[in-house]
């Protein structure tokens, strides 16, 4: 019961921090990247779908190693499904 009370107190503090962040969220918003992609995205990458233009050209490094993480997870699952110990 005490554990639960402490958890609720910590969550109230986190909620207060979130509220402070929420009040300033309007100043953080800008549209420079959006306007750049809208103007030059088609000429530089040749893709009409701007999301594809981002994840296959501007941020290709990101999406390649994301595929690598998928490969690592599959390898780990294969390794664990073969070695089965019971007690």
């Amino acid at each position: 019961m005490i554990k639960r009370m402490f958890a609720i107190i910590i969550l109230v503090v986190i909620m207060f921090a979130f509220w402070l962040a929420y009040l300033e969220i309007g100043e953080l918003k800008n549209e420079y990247a959006k306007n750049y992609y809208l103007d030059k995205g088609f000429e530089e990458t040749g893709s009409k779908n701007l999301v594809t233009a981002i994840y296959l050209d501007y941020r290709l490094f990101d999406s390649i190693f994301e595929a690598g993480i998928l490969l690592l997870a599959v390898t780990g699952i294969m390794f664990m499904s073969k070695n089965d110990e019971r007690r």
């Binding site: 990458t45 893709s47 296959l56 595929a67 490969l71 699952i77 499904s81």
Partner: protein, 134 residues
């Protein structure tokens, strides 16, 4: 587990259309909503339907992981070609001053490889869980 006959019939009817839809999503990823990741998940769903048709099916897991490794190496190679044509890693390998229509070749190639890689990865995960439950 006993599977209803109606479900088997509908699955057999639906299987080629889901395959067609998945390849459409992957190959049109650069001019309509979609792309490699989403189309790969749809293709994996088409494979899951075959478990309704034949529940005792056994697939070769080692071969799947091997295919996935080679596909990952192929994606890396396709992404690194641009160093020899444009002098820069991880970008389009078609030269910059060529017409815009030619740049689609790179996008379609990479989308296709990423889609196949996601498909083999999800099939391997799902089959590992099926093997665990047997």
């Amino acid at each position: 587990m006993r599977i209803s006959l109606i479900l088997v019939c509908i699955s057999r009817l639906l299987y080629p259309f889901i395959l067609l839809f998945g390849f459409y999503i992957i190959l049109n990823g650069d001019k309509s909503p979609g792309g490699g990741f989403q189309g790969g998940v749809i293709l994996a769903t088409a494979f899951f339907i075959t478990y309704f048709i034949d529940p005792k099916k056994i697939i070769n897991l080692k071969l799947l992981v091997k295919i996935e490794k080679y596909l990952f190496a192929l994606i890396l190679i396709v992404a690194c070609i641009s160093y020899f044509t444009n002098g820069e890693f991880f970008t389009n390998f078609i030269p910059v001053d060529s017409p815009i229509e030619n740049k689609r070749i790179f996008l379609i190639l990479l989308n296709f490889f990423i889609g196949l890689k996601v498909t083999t990865g999800l099939i391997a995960v799902f089959s590992a869980f099926i093997e665990e439950g047997r």
